[in-house]
Structure formats: C-alpha cells, structure tokens
C-alpha cells in the first residue's frame, strides 16, 4: 500500500483545542449590536382550525419590534422533498400537532419576546385528534392534510424477482412483526440561529444546521429572495444526527423578522421545543416474511411497513423508501418485495435520524434471521456467512457493492469477541448475539431534481506561500469533517496537516449538499482532493518552467519538493524567495526545496494560485421508481457482537461488552472512525434499551426532557472493541467510504439476539425495558406450564 503522511493517522481534530478551551462558538453564543430576540408561539392543541389570531396586545408591549403570523409570512409551501412540500412558515388554517408554529415575536430581549408571544390571542376550533397511524387510515378518520384524505402521505410498492413464487420453493418460511418507538435526536445543542439583513448584500443566517445549502435554497424560495442574496453559514454545531438536516420555521421566521426589522434577530429552541420540532426517527411497524432453503440459502423477503409520520412529511418520503431498500444486502437475496406506507398523525413530524429508515427494519430482520438460523440448527454467524455478499456483488434492487468487507467484519467480530467459546455455552441470564448491516455512502441524488454537483471545494494558496486555505461548503456538525477534509487536502497537495487552514459550512464557498446520508468523506472528500491536486499541479508547472524539469519528475510530500533525479540546483530560486522575504525570521534552509518557496514562486509567476474541485456520482444502478433512494456510489458495512446480562428476576438488561467491526473503505482518521463507531453504538443502545418519545392522549409530548427521555450515560455504555476494516473503495477518495451511520445498523438486533440467548425470549417491541422482558419471561413460564 502507498505510504501516506497525513491520512490514515490519528491526528487530533482541527477544532479540538477551541472546543476544549471553551472558545468554540455555537449559534446561541453569537450576538450582534442592536440584536433582537425572537420567540415562537406554538399550538397547544394537536388538531384545530384557527379561527382568529389577535396580535394587538403583543404589538403594544413596549420593546416588541415585530410580530408575524401567516398573514405576514405568506403561504409558500416548503419541506424536504419538492414532491411533498406540505409546510408553511406558520399555520394558515389549521394546527396539526402540539408545537405547530402559529406566530413569532422579535423584541429587545428574550423576556419581552416571550411575554409578547403569550399575549397573542388565538381562537382554536378543536378538531378530532388522531395519534395512531392505524386509526388514521381507517374510514372516517380525521383528515390532517386535505390533499391526502386517507392520511397516507406516501406509499411505496416494489418487487424484485417474484417473491410469492420464490416462497413456494422454500423449506422454511417465517413471519414476524416488529415495532420500535419514536426516537429523539437528543443532540446536546438545541437548534439556534441568528439572521441579519443588508439591502445590498442580502440575508445572512448563522444556523445550527447540518445542510446550509438546502437551508439557503429554502430561505430563497419561501422568502422570495434571489439565491445569490442568501448566505447560510454554520458556527460550531452541537450535533445533528438527522433532525437538523432540513430548513425549519425557526430559521425562516428569524430571517423574516430580520428582513422586516432591519435588525439582527436571534432565536433558539428550548429543549422542550427540540422535542416538539422533532424530525427525528419514525416509529416503524414492520411485518417480515423470510423464506430459506434447508441448507440456509436465503431465498425471499416480503416486507410490509407502516410508518407513523407525524403531522408533516419532512424527510419521510425518503424514509419510507429506505425502510424497504436497506434490507436484502449484505446478503445474497434474489427476491424482495416491499410495501411501505407513511401515515400522517397529529404528532410532531418525524424525519431522518442516523441510519435513516433502515434501523428498525434491520433490527426486525436480523432478529428474524437469528430465529431462522436456530430453526435450521445453524450457528448464526455461519448462517450469515453462507449468504454474505462480497465485493462486486449487486443486490436485487441494483445496489453495486463496489467494495464490501462484510465477511471480514463478521470474521473479525467472531474472533474479537471469542464467539466460538461463548455461543451456546453461557449460563442462563448471560447472552451473546450477533448482527450485520450496511448503509449508503452518500445519497446518489440530491433531494431536489438537479444535475448539480453534490460537493465543490476551493483551495487557495496564500500569496506568501505559507498557508493552504481550504474553503469547503461541507457541514461540520461534530462528526469531524473539517478534520478529515483538512487531512485529504494536505495529503493530496503534499503539505503537512498544520499547513492547511480550513473554513467550512458556508454557502459563499460553493455547493455542498451537507451532512446527511453519510456522504461528506466520500463526496466532499473527492471535491477537496481534486482541488488540492489542481493547486499542486499549478505549483509544479511553475517549478517545471523555472527549473526545466518535467512535472512528472517532481513530487511534493510533507511540505517538501522532492526531485526524482539527484543534483537539482534550486539555489537561484531559493535566493529569489529569500529576497522576497527579506527580514523574515524563517528563511528556508536545508537540502530540500520547500513547498512554501514553490508556492510563493508560483504566485509570482501566475498570480493567486487557486485549485477547485467538484464531485457528483457517476451513473448509478436502478431504473425503477424509487431507485434514487438507496443507490449510492459505495456502501459501508458493519458486524457486531454484543454480550449482555439479564436479571432473570427483574428483566433488567445490562450490556456488558460490544465488539464492532466496520468497513469504512479506508480510514482517513482512525480516531474519528472509532469515534463514529462508538457513538453509533451508543445511540443504538439507547434506542434498544430506553429511548421512547411518549405522548398523552391529547398529543402532547409527555417526556420532553433529557431526564425523562433517557439517553445512555457513561454508566450505561460499555467499552467497545472497535475494529476497523479497510476494503479500499474504488469510488472513494483514497478508498474511503462511510462510517457515520452504517455502524448503528447491527446494534439493536445484536442486543436483541443476545437478550434471547440469555433468556430464551424474543422481544419484538422496543425499547427492551425490564418491564417488557419481565412480562415476556412470565408469559414464557406460563406457556411452558401449559405444555
């Protein structure tokens, strides 16, 4: 393998120091002179016709500078996918969930803004509320959106092969149901943003977003501004995991009031508002039928899924596709049928969250595969290995596994966990379980139909030669893209890590679709690599002209120019550089010509040296309807083994140990890859064991706090044996592909399979609370008595 200097290392994050010293600034830390504070008025009822809104008292309150409702904000619809734009900034005729936005206020301080919002009088005519998706599709159920009288906002029907015929040829066919619960993103930073407007320069919005580009487009469309007059930039973002990947009323209203008042406006969510806004993981109701031959060959899968969508579409039209398309692989499955229905209910809208659409499906199927393996008398790892896909395999729904270290992952967790010594040999109450999974490495297509590049990048060498400026519109949300892209730039250009200064997350830098669908290392990485190579080429060309050496006979590495032939005399160039920098404290010396000298001379010859890069995926498979959701230039994959202890008296589950292997193609930053793996497992453990957004009968979130909505603490999360597998993805920059989401896929089913191994009971409903396990143990005991 090629020797690298900066990538495949453990260099610390570029923003680590700022974050460790408290100097990093997040949206709510920003302020500007003359700034106003915004507050929202949100619906207290889940479904109501809005009869009247009276803002007169609010407007009269001293210190209030603006009050806006639908009357001021207009009726332009927006959302995530243009095919399902179903939101407006404020409710126009109806409120559809508790938290739906009715009005907003900007005032000189937050207290005044909140007081004014409370003075807005709204007359609601309450309508029947429907919270259960199965109730919502019944005849005569309350209609949430007039355009969708049966409340089915999106449905998908796909079949690859012939499932019914294939099932007839199977020796074993099994049907199981599975349900998860609505999850919350529970990122530590509640959404916040600050907007200001200049009639000449346009609108600027600093926002805690995952996708500045989509926010820019939505602001322009809804507020009627030219796209070029809208700038969206990120300060530091305190986590996202999906829910921050789309434009929101928070951002739109803040911008609207900044334009109307001519003053900067800041608005932030409270934690409770984060739960109301949601856009996090859906609740999925899966029914899976899988057929196999008696030798363990997988033959067919029939998957039906109902998704509780909440009040608006958000990412849901993609989610309902992913809940089908992310099964099949990583196993060779020739026949697959999927029917999916996303249903509107009077609850906060669900959207995308880590492992978008595929997590519950994966949990359901990997548990079912475990049952099938046991029924066939096969070891669950042997059963999976028998069906495993390998590099170059194409799924029945046309996903090309251009690299796939799935077998290597599975073998790594088998030996890493000591599986063979433990499986079937643990005492009652102790269990071990395994599961696999895969995920896209970037969506193959943008959310709106376009031939746009998915990522662009600019590298500008500073005119003195000493600094490489990387401008990337990619979104750093904590996952480490600034670091990884800095490493890619440094490696491709041939400079040291510390020579590159990254600026990111700003629509002024170009187009990047953002931090979702695990796309940036591959896609933004490609653009950055290309920009760096372009800058490098220009520097070498100038050097070639001046030294009379062909470009091919030179290289740049670790900030030094390397000549393939010995005895190159560059002393004249060095003298010229030193004269340029007379009196500077660090004249170059030593036997190597430096990149700094070369970059300065390139500037003297050609002016500012700029390299640009742009990436979009090549031709991808799939010509069927919906093929755009799931096709990707590459796929990451994972295997996990989990060991648990279950208290057989109380049903309490403790996860003791996790062994995780993930194929990320090639690890640009090994520490970051491990961090993504461990973070994914933690989120999966939370969803498996505790996390559930609960509602009262009126559709109010019953647990909108991080105390009552419990995420893992460091007492819940065990250490993970973290194994990086590198399969060298041909479509990835330096062979790299995703790690951010694929790693969550096997977590829940590995826990479920371990719980079964410990207890002999299967749990088909998340979360696996002690009460649920206790009840199942009791049922099982009684069933045995009867037998």
């Amino acid at each position: 393998m090629k020797e690298y200097s900066v990538i495949n290392t453990r260099v610390p994050r570029v923003d680590g120091r700022a974050k460790a010293t408290g100097k990093a600034r997040y949206a709510d830390d920003l302020s500007m002179p003359d700034m106003l504070y915004g507050a929202l008025l949100q619906s207290p009822v889940a479904h109501a016709r809005i009869r009247k809104i009276d803002t007169s008292k609010a407007k009269k309150l001293p210190g209030v500078k603006d009050v806006v409702t639908a009357q001021e904000a207009g009726a332009v619809k927006f959302g995530v996918s243009p095919a399902r734009y179903d939101e407006t900034i404020f409710c126009i005729d109806k409120a559809r969930y508790v938290g739906d936005e009715i009005a907003a206020v900007a005032a000189v301080d937050l207290e005044t803004a909140l007081e004014a919002a409370a003075l807005i009088e709204v007359e609601y005519e309450e309508l029947p509320v429907v919270l259960d998706p199965f109730e919502a599709i019944k005849e005569g159920a309350p209609v949430i959106h007039e355009d969708f009288p049966n409340n089915i906002g999106a449905e998908v029907h796909q079949e690859f092969g012939d499932v019914e015929e294939a099932l007839k040829t199977c020796d074993l066919v099994r049907t199981d149901k599975f349900v998860n619960k609505k999850q919350d993103g529970a990122f530590l930073e509640p959404q916040a943003c600050l907007a200001f407007y200049d009639p000449g320069r346009g609108l600027t919005l600093y926002s805690s977003t995952q996708a500045p580009h989509y926010v820019q487009r939505t602001l322009a469309m809804v507020l009627g501004l030219p796209i070029g007059k809208v700038r969206v930039a990120q300060p530091c973002v305190g986590g996202g995991f999906g829910p921050k990947a789309s434009a929101s009323t928070l951002e739109l209203t803040t911008s609207l009031m900044a334009i109307r008042t001519g003053r900067p406006v800041k608005m932030a969510f409270t934690r409770e508002q984060v739960f109301w806004h949601s856009r996090a993981r859906h609740q999925f109701f899966h029914e899976l039928t899988t057929g196999v031959k008696k030798d363990g060959t997988l033959v067919a899968l029939k998957n039906t899924c109902y998704l509780d969508g909440g009040a608006y579409s958000s990412f849901g039209i993609a989610t309902v596709y992913y809940a089908g398309s992310l099964l099949g692989a990583p196993y060779r499955l020739p026949n697959m049928k999927y029917d999916g229905y996303r249903i509107y209910t009077n609850k906060p809208a669900n959207g995308a969250q880590r492992g978008h659409g595929g997590v519950a499906a994966r949990a359901a199927w990997e548990q079912q595969l475990d049952i099938i393996a046991a029924d066939l008398g096969m070891d669950p790892i042997e059963f999976r290995l028998k069906n495993i896909m390998q590099r170059g395999d194409i799924t029945c729904n046309d996903f090309n596994m251009s690299s796939l270290g799935m077998k290597e992952c599975l073998e790594a967790v088998r030996s890493g966990s000591g599986w063979d010594k433990k499986k079937g040999k643990l005492p009652r109450g102790k269990g071990i379980g395994v599961a696999c999974g895969f995920f896209v490495s970037g969506a193959g297509f943008p959310i709106y139909r376009s031939e746009t590049f998915h990522s662009t990048a600019v590298i500008k060498l500073s005119e003195d030669g000493g600094t490489v400026n990387l401008y990337t519109p990619a979104a750093e949300i904590g996952q480490g893209s600034d670091t990884v892209l800095t490493q890619i730039a440094a490696e491709a250009l041939g400079v040291r890590y510390g020579d590159v200064k990254v600026s990111s997350g700003d629509t002024d830098f170009g187009v990047d679709l953002g931090a979702y669908s695990s796309r940036q290392t591959l896609m933004s990485g490609h653009a950055v690599k290309q920009a760096a190579e372009e800058a490098r080429r220009q520097v070498l060309e100038v050097l070639s002209e001046q030294l009379n050496i062909p470009v091919e006979e030179m290289d740049i590495k670790d900030g030094l120019v390397l000549f393939k032939k010995e005895g190159v005399d560059f002393s004249a160039l060095r003298t010229r550089y030193i004269k340029e920098h007379r009196g500077w404290t660090d004249p170059p010396s030593g036997k190597h010509f430096t990149f700094v000298e070369a970059a300065r001379l390139a500037y003297l010859a050609r002016g500012t040296i700029v390299g640009t890069g742009a990436y979009k995926p090549g031709e991808l498979g799939g010509k069927y309807k919906g093929a755009a959701v799931g096709t990707s230039p590459a796929y990451g994959c994972s295997a996990q083994v989990v060991e648990v202890t279950v208290d057989m008296e109380t049903g309490q589950v403790t996860v003791d140990k996790m062994t995780d292997a993930h194929d990320c193609g090639f690890a640009i930053n090994r520490t970051n890859v491990e961090g993504q793996m461990q973070g994914s497992l933690s989120m999966g453990l939370g969803e498996a064991l505790f996390e559930e957004v609960k509602f009262d009968g009126g559709g109010r979130v019953a647990n909108p706090t991080l105390g009552e909505y419990r995420i893992p603490t460091c007492l819940d999360m065990p250490n993970v044996e973290t194994i990086i597998i590198e399969s060298n993805e041909p479509n990835g920059p330096f062979g790299a592909k995703e790690v951010g989401e694929g790693a969550i896929m096997p977590t829940i089913p590995a826990i479920l399979n371990a719980v079964y191994d410990a207890t002999g009971v299967r749990i088909n409903e998340l979360p696996v609370t002690s009460e649920r396990v206790f009840d199942r143990l009791k049922e099982e005991k009684e069933r045995r008595k009867e037998v």
Binding site: R10, P12, R13, D15, G16, R17, A18, K19, A20, T21, G22, K23, A24, R25, Y26, D28, D29, G185, A186, F187, L188, E189, P190, C236, V237, G238, G239, F241, T270, R271, I477, G478, Q479, G480, T671, N672, E674, G675, Q678, G679, S680, L681, S682, M683, T705, L706, G707, I711, P712, T713, C714, L715, M717, N719, V720, T722
Partner: protein, 156 residues
C-alpha cells in the same frame, strides 16, 4: 429588584447587579461573557453547563447567581492559561474525546474536579464522576480513556 453580588470567576472578582431569578448560567454567559458554559436543557438533566463552585461541580442552570455570592467559580475558560492546555484538555484533544464539543466544557470540568480529588481514579470512579454529563456523540469511551490519560499526565 436587582441585587449586587460578587462572583470570583477564574480568580477574578466581578461585581454584578443581578435579578434574583437569574441563574448562574445566565449571568456567566450573558452578563460576564463566559460563553464556554453551554446550556443544553436548562433544567439540570444534561450537565453541559457544569462549572466548579468552591471546588464542587454544579449545574449552573440550577443555581441562582445570588446563591453563590462570594463564591469561587471556575469555568472552562479558567482551566488553563495562555497557550498551554491543562492535561485534561490536552488529553481530550489527543484521545478523540471531543466531537461536537457541546458537552465538552462541562465534561472537562467534571473530570478535572475528579482528578483534583483523586489522582488515580479507577474506571468505575471515572464513569461515576462523569455520569451527570450527557454526551450524544462519542459513546463515552474516548472520554474515559482521556481522563485516564490525563491522570497519568498529571502525575508526571
């Protein structure tokens, strides 16, 4: 009615007139500009706003500023001086204990308080000391490793 109080923040005394209902987190962030103190929930669930008051880590969103009149307070800005990082900060950067960074200020202050009291903590002791600080990004493992490493660095 506002009350005049003195807060000794990072060894410097600040006289501030505060409304009695304002929390320490609000006064630190909004009146004194210590923006490294993060507010993730405002009701003491997440620990992001942890600061050290008279040697004890507290959720500054649950403490009224008037309650700590005269107290010595350390915020993340006071953990190190100048260019040199405190070993806990250095280890957090080095070991990948930081991702989004929103929990980091509180996490570092909880870890530092632990190490000030116990120079050689076991893993369960570290985990217990950090159990009031939520992190959604890291899965905690690299944070725990960093605290171990910091303990080693502080002994040298």
């Amino acid at each position: 009615m506002k009350k005049l109080i003195t807060l000794i923040v990072n060894k410097r005394a600040f006289e501030v007139a505060v409304e009695p209902n304002r929390t320490l987190a609000q006064v630190l962030r909004e009146d004194l500009g210590f923006l490294g103190t993060k507010v993730g929930c405002g009701i003491g669930d997440c620990g992001a706003c942890t600061v050290v008051v008279d040697g004890r880590p507290v959720n500054s969103c649950l403490v009224l500023a008037v309650q700590v009149n005269g107290s010595e307070i350390t915020t993340i800005e006071g953990v190190s001086e100048g260019a040199e990082l405190h070993p806990v900060q250095e280890a957090f950067v080095e070991y990948g204990a930081i991702q989004c960074g929103f929990c980091t200020s509180g996490m570092i202050l909880s870890a530092k308080t632990l190490l000030d009291r116990n120079s050689n903590p076991s893993e369960p002791e570290i985990r217990a000391a950090l159990s009031g600080n939520l992190c959604r990004c890291t899965g905690y493992q690299k944070i725990v490793e960093a605290v171990h490493a910091a303990a080693g660095m502080m002994k040298k």
